[in-house]
């Protein structure tokens, strides 16, 4: 096959398109998922409606949170080939709260502080090897953290 100027140009354009698309998709904030206003809707948006309960995910959250504005959460997992870890607060106005992406050398063990409007289940969803796994923990909130 001879390389004419035109075919060369086509190849360069095709090549750069391939290189750009996955990066763009990766770097994008999942707007529909973060703006979903129901727990089921958020689960559907992240493609984890069929999440299997797993004891290989550890979710550390207080049993009782006196102040819903600052609820410390720790999530870790011993699952293999983790792609992402999502945290959802079932009864919050927008349940999806955080989505950690995995990189080589990054330990699947994160701490973050979240807001809770009322007593609710906190759910951790781990995507690993193309499947979704979950675990949850109930947090009782004495004073909600979403109002003024």
């Amino acid at each position: 096959m001879s390389l004419t100027r035109r075919s060369m140009l086509k190849r360069i354009i095709a090549g750069s398109a391939i290189a750009l698309v996955p990066f763009g998709a990766f770097a994008k904030w999942a707007e529909a998922a973060f703006k979903a206003d129901t727990y089921k809707g958020a689960l559907a948006e992240i493609g984890s409606e069929d999440a299997i309960a797993s004891d290989k995910i550890k979710l550390k959250a207080p049993e009782i949170a006196e102040n819903g504005a600052v609820v410390p959460i720790r999530v870790s997992s011993t699952l293999e080939n983790i792609e992402s870890i999502s945290l959802l607060v079932e009864k919050n106005p927008t349940p999806l709260t955080a989505q950690f992406k995995m990189f080589p050398g990054l330990k699947p063990d994160f701490k973050i502080r979240v807001r809770m409007g009322e007593t609710s289940k906190v759910v951790a969803i781990v995507k690993a090897g193309g499947k979704s796994y979950s675990t949850s923990s109930e947090v009782k909130v004495t004073i909600g953290g979403c109002g003024g």
Partner: protein
């Protein structure tokens, strides 16, 4: 932002504290008017230009977000560069040296 990076062996525990109001868009001001949403959406971490961390966040993260990240296979003297972007497009960068 404030970053604390502590190295033990080859494991770095990095604590990140971002100063940000994390306005959810549901809060009202004293006049009863809704305060527009403005919250951190993405925090990324790089070491020597290689991405090592990313979290995407929604308005459910507490005001002045705190995040702890653990990195393995690191060395003393390496610098970790963080950057956040919020829903208004505002950004801030910060770095810390692993020691």
């Amino acid at each position: 932002m404030r970053i604390k990076a502590k190295l033990k062996g080859d494991t770095a525990t990095v604590k990140l504290l971002i100063k940000h109001p994390m306005e959810s868009g549901r809060r009202k001001d004293e006049a009863g008017k809704l305060i527009p949403a403005k919250y951190v959406q993405t925090v990324t971490g790089h070491i020597a230009g290689t991405q090592v961390f990313e979290v995407n966040t929604g308005p459910g993260v507490s005001k002045n977000p705190f995040i702890q990240v653990i990195l393995e296979g690191r060395k003393a003297g390496e610098t970790i560069d963080f950057k956040w972007v919020d829903s208004s497009g505002a950004t801030e960068e910060g770095s810390a040296t692993l020691k």
